[in-house]
Point group: D2
Chain length 438, copies 4
């Protein structure tokens, strides 16, 4: 049976097509800067939004109409797997991502929960073999169940810490079994509601202990996926410990975890933290930890995680620019649509429309970014702007040959300082030309 | 002499041009939906940012390098007039806007201040006659001078109220003399720092009294400009009384001022109030008070008025969409660049680059919006979506033929309700196609 | 049976008590400015948070442990009524508030839903008679059910408008039956997600039509409750039509609804709109529409409605100050705790702790505000500050005897203007003295 | 002569005093937890706000009326020194802080600028000897002068880097000469306006090079002050590199600067970054880098640095709680009023009122925090809440004796997990009791 009845496989028809069920910009085999779009973008469907999302929000119930709603329990879990591989086929997307609790229901005991998981992982494994689809990353949901009300690795209850460890252990085993390319840690309850009742030092120490155990266990079982931490500043907690890329780097430095982790950067989390998406990507890139991205967008006039499908071409262009300049591009990571259809877009075909919108937005961003690179637009700007550090006193500074004494001597003798305009308005006009013309 | 040496008059060269000093999208004579771009857009240069802006910010001094900096006092004022008409010529812009204190320095007394103003207004008048350039609007600066520390029309000091009245009286006279098409009220100090020492009721009553006096005086002297209020939610005050379009409408309703005023909507003020630019324009449009716009953009991750030159094509497209649908378009209003070059864009030519960037962004927005209208994209969506109000019970509701009793009877008999998807993701994908393809 | 086992009736023990289950500041019979605290505050328990709240959030499931969880359907509904009156008794609170869907489950048809409601309203009616507890206000929940996905009175589907009308009709009848003192309209889905697919003019016209029908029907059945609109700027919609007090006033003016409505001001909604709680109260007060308050507080570093129990003494002091100065005080309104225990405060006794915290915070705010009034602290400040409007030119302005001509004449002759300091820092220090000393 | 005519030395008169020019809570010699208030708080006056602040804002000119306004150039600089020591005397404050450019005007050359500085430093040195007043910290202003338009240590112009180095070299020498206890780095222009023209990697590398040079030079000259970095997230730059405490820690880790720096935490900078003041203090404390504080407060409904004098007793209580728990308390740091009187509080005596308000607020916070500690309120909460980590599996986790294998074994055997309520509402009620009762 089909969960997306009458929906054809989506093909590239070009930017002038008015077929809603076609790609206008994403042409998987189109070669850009030496690689195909498919290779650059490594799109992934997010299991949670696509197959367990209901359209509910804090003020209203489920709106989504889904073919699998008729089932419950393990039957529901199995139906969702079928739906997932059908959607991957329709969209011609190679990857998917899931939390453990997305794919299988909890049982009455951890044993039963794990048994449920094993069954579904087996079903997924078979589909993967049959279709060639791949697991971009898996992760453990340690935020939905009320046991995690005070956190998982940062809980105030040692029994919960143990439970969380058992859960991640199993998730690592499943990741290995399914050949996951990455494993993600998003600490949905790793944070605090108030400092008035929080032992911040202990909680952060425990988080580090937990991650070290995870590193050790992955090594022990030979699971070589890239470990990723996904920063988020707030929501559901008032303060989330992995606030942003820089905060996460501080944590990884302090606890000697830096060699083992990269970051999974989400656009909407960036803006909730007061940053642009490209800022978080740039910070990650220059620190060598740009691992993967959660593609979505927020509404900057709203203060919560709206997880909209990404359609802002400025944002996708600058994101792809950072990825193209990253050593190895997106590497083992990918572009995962951690995005949900709006609550009023409740039909199954809206899931297809939304992925088309997002994939086309990233494909278009890739085109524009690639052209900016080919034309050396930003390279040229930087070479001019920072030219003074290529020779003379500037080169001395960069090479470590300067001190306050030598610099003072230079400054006292130097002629009046002349700066050059930053030309930002003109640069933005160039970006508009590229977005309109490419 | 020239204040923009070596800067040619800017001409349209088309979207493929790589000449920084050319328009890529703004073609003044290009006809769009039956009017030229020039007629649709009615661009204006803002005197304050362009000729009195220094590049200073709360943490740093002037950076702008301007040819008129060598002068002071009335000589400076006169030089700025020359610079203004030179820039209007270079940009081929027809309109400009000013505050009284932008164009002439205050003297030791109000008499002297007014005399200074008269001199410069005379100089401007001559230039207008010689060039055909026009005054989109003028206004009175009642926020810079320390006498307005507690407000102007909403001051706690009756002497200041009187002074403000005298100042606006003069400004209305000058507006009439120069044939201003509009007169703007922006209440830079009409607001409060804290309710702890504020008589809110008295201050708002006084504001209404002031505006009624202005209406009366304009009528008395036969100044028929459109009066505009420009909403802003905060900054410099903690709370500004004309918070947003809706707040201003409530005020105008309460004090029977609605027949006399329209609104001047500024993009950055909209976002500071928690709204999109297009929201404020739509609210104004459906209330019949869309008068003019202050074209700029804010940074939604920053909490103050950044007054950047507008370059976001989404925003200019949706703004132009509202204007095109407004009865009479922008009417006697225009597109005034209430925008400043970034502090690091301090060369005179940056002023030219910035206006090119903004004018091209609005021209491109006009093109895209016009095509969306020609293709009936949004019209078609609305007709389908709200079709149920065209007949049956829906038509009864709209026509005033329904009551709770008749609607209950209908609802009790009605079959289960079926809603249709809002299709927002697909609609956004269409917008991206238009922005890329037009 | 008891749903709050071992919880005594909460009594006033005074500010030094360390009994967690006692009031420290709220002494119901203590007379303040001529009325008892009970009369001033008219506390109400909110049915939804207290009896249907689960502790779930967008990232996690129910945590609350409640005695009524063992039931379902109408049995659950009946158990909650028992729990409600038990909690009112424990807290010695006189009022409660509910949405229709809080108290009874929907059936398969509107007829069945209404029948369910009738049963529970009967049960509530009996308890009210037996205990003397009163209904502060009721309202209709038109946001949870997916039929309202596009709005209720502002839906794009006429069938939904009719359904909403039937629902409010029933709610008005129940309000009358239970002697509700007010009836509240909170438009949880009256707003938009995007202007791209919204007919803003039609939606607002329809909202006005709906409210006129409600006014007419209440009159028809002789339901004389005060009608209240509760503003909120966003969430769940991206934009809510009743954005804030001023926006709501503009709407009421435009559609001639002002004589029929007052406002129910919620602290957290105020701050989401960019205002202080006291600002929204002051705006309501000076426009004669301060009807009731939803007592809670938000976290200003978070961008969503956290609905915390109110504990900030600055906020409760300034809120009570506005209420004490309002003509008739809170009138037929009251202080309704539209607040939820934190997700980690999941025990039944936390509900009691939370209400104690909130009631004490408002009682303390009442004490401090009353003392500020008795000592004429703010009155004295305003009399001095605005003294210039009591005579001379200021009195002329206020009396309507001034014009731009007379004011200009005055200003031209006037001596240099001297302003007085606003003294805000000193005023804040006084407030701190009162909060510490009262 | 006197710059604060008729202003007496401020004495402690107790909480009931209605003398505006008296302390109500700050009793310098009162012993709290074994130290005097004076020793705990180490108050400092900020030279820039107090003596160079004008009351101007982006929309208006100077309002402040100051006795030294009659002077200019070096005469002005000298008068300000006199005013500073007069105010320190009046307030009985022991410390002050300055930027180099606060105390002396720039000359035409760096040589002349340095000569000006030397003169004023000499004058200050004499006053310090005569009065016993001390320099809490000094710093270099590298943000006001237009040469720093693109940054100082992170400029795109190597000549500017050299100039900045010379400037800090001089400031370190002056710090040593005056016995400064700390030296502060606040990077007012160390950030970016846009990534479109920024080489983020080079700029951050250069910032690290600069700080290493500063460390080396201080060591070379034997200046043993504590080096402090002051985080701020934005303003004046769109993004400031020292965004918050965690970001700064990541930077210090990466560039091996951590042993040489602590942090100077400012309340308003914390909230601009999306954090509470106490969060930034706690993060600093648990990382051993809590060095000093800039005492002020922001308006959380405004998006810029309002630098208000601190009066929120919740904030001062929680700040003092962190300081009291910090090893060594505030240590060599202090409580520096980086706060400005509101623009409408323009009289000299407002400076005195404002400092009284802030000092009393901190003294009151100290009293409340000390009592919370004496009564072990929070200690008791934490001991209970985290008790499970004191023994059994929890102790194994903390001691490093657990692994995913041992924890899984434990979890599989463990009985169902039971969590305890976090009791936050009750804890907040306790805080209110302490604030009202202490």
């Amino acid at each position: 049976m089909s969960y997306f009845a009458n929906t054809p496989v989506i093909r590239y028809e070009g930017r002038g097509s008015d077929n809603p069920l076609a790609f206008k910009f994403y042409n998987p085999d189109e070669v850009v800067l030496g690689k195909t779009m498919r290779e650059h973008l490594r799109f992934a469907v997010a299991y949670w939004h696509a197959f367990t999302g209901t359209g509910s929000d804090p003020f209203g119930g489920a709106t989504n109409v889904r073919g699998w709603d008729r089932y419950s329990g393990m039957d529901l879990a199995k139906a969702r797997v079928e739906a997932c591989f059908e959607l991957l086929h329709i969209l011609d997307v190679d990857y998917f991502c899931f939390h453990d609790r997305d794919i299988a229901p909890e049982g009455d005991t951890l044993q039963e929960t794990n048994a449920n998981l094993d069954v579904i992982v087996g079903q997924i494994e078979e589909h993967m073999k049959a279709t060639g689809k791949k697991l971009l990353w898996n992760t453990a949901n340690m935020f939905t169940n009320p046991r995690f009300v005070h956190g998982a690795a940062t809980t105030s209850n040692a029994d919960v810490f143990a439970y969380a460890a058992a859960q991640v252990k199993k998730a690592l085993e499943h990741g290995k079994r399914l050949g996951a390319e990455n494993y993600v840690f998003w600490g949905g309850r790793e944070g605090y509601e108030s400092l008035l009742n929080t032992d911040l030092g202990l909680e952060l120490d425990n988080l580090a202990r937990f991650l070290h155990m995870a590193v050790d266990y992955a090594k022990e079982i030979g699971f070589d996926a890239q470990f990723l931490i996904e920063p988020k500043p707030k929501e559901p907690s008032k303060h989330q410990y992995d606030f942003d890329a820089a905060t996460t780097l501080a944590f990884l430095h302090k606890y000697s975890l830096l060699p083992h982790f990269k970051l999974n950067i989400e656009a909407n989390h960036a803006t909730l933290a007061g940053h642009t998406f490209e800022h978080e990507l740039r910070v990650s890139r220059i620190n060598g930890v740009l691992g993967s991205i959660d593609a979505n967008q927020g509404d900057l006039l709203l203060g919560w995680d709206t997880d909209e499908f990404p359609t802002d071409l400025y944002s996708t262009t600058l994101a792809m620019y950072e990825i193209l300049l990253n050593e190895g591009g997106i590497g083992r990571g990918g572009v995962n649509f951690d995005a949900k259809v709006r609550r009023a877009s409740f039909e199954p075909v809206d899931l297809v429309h939304a992925h088309i919108a997002g994939m086309d937005a990233f494909a278009r961003g890739l085109q524009v970014a690639a052209k900016l690179i080919e034309d050396r637009v930003f390279d040229g700007i930087l070479e001019t702007r920072y030219g003074s550090f290529q020779s003379g006193i500037g080169a001395d500074i960069v090479a470590g040959r300067a001190s306050f004494r030598t610099l003072e001597a230079y400054a006292l003798e130097n002629k009046p300082i002349v700066n050059a305009s930053g030309r930002l308005e003109h640069i933005k006009a160039i970006v508009n030309q590229y977005i309109s013309n490419v």
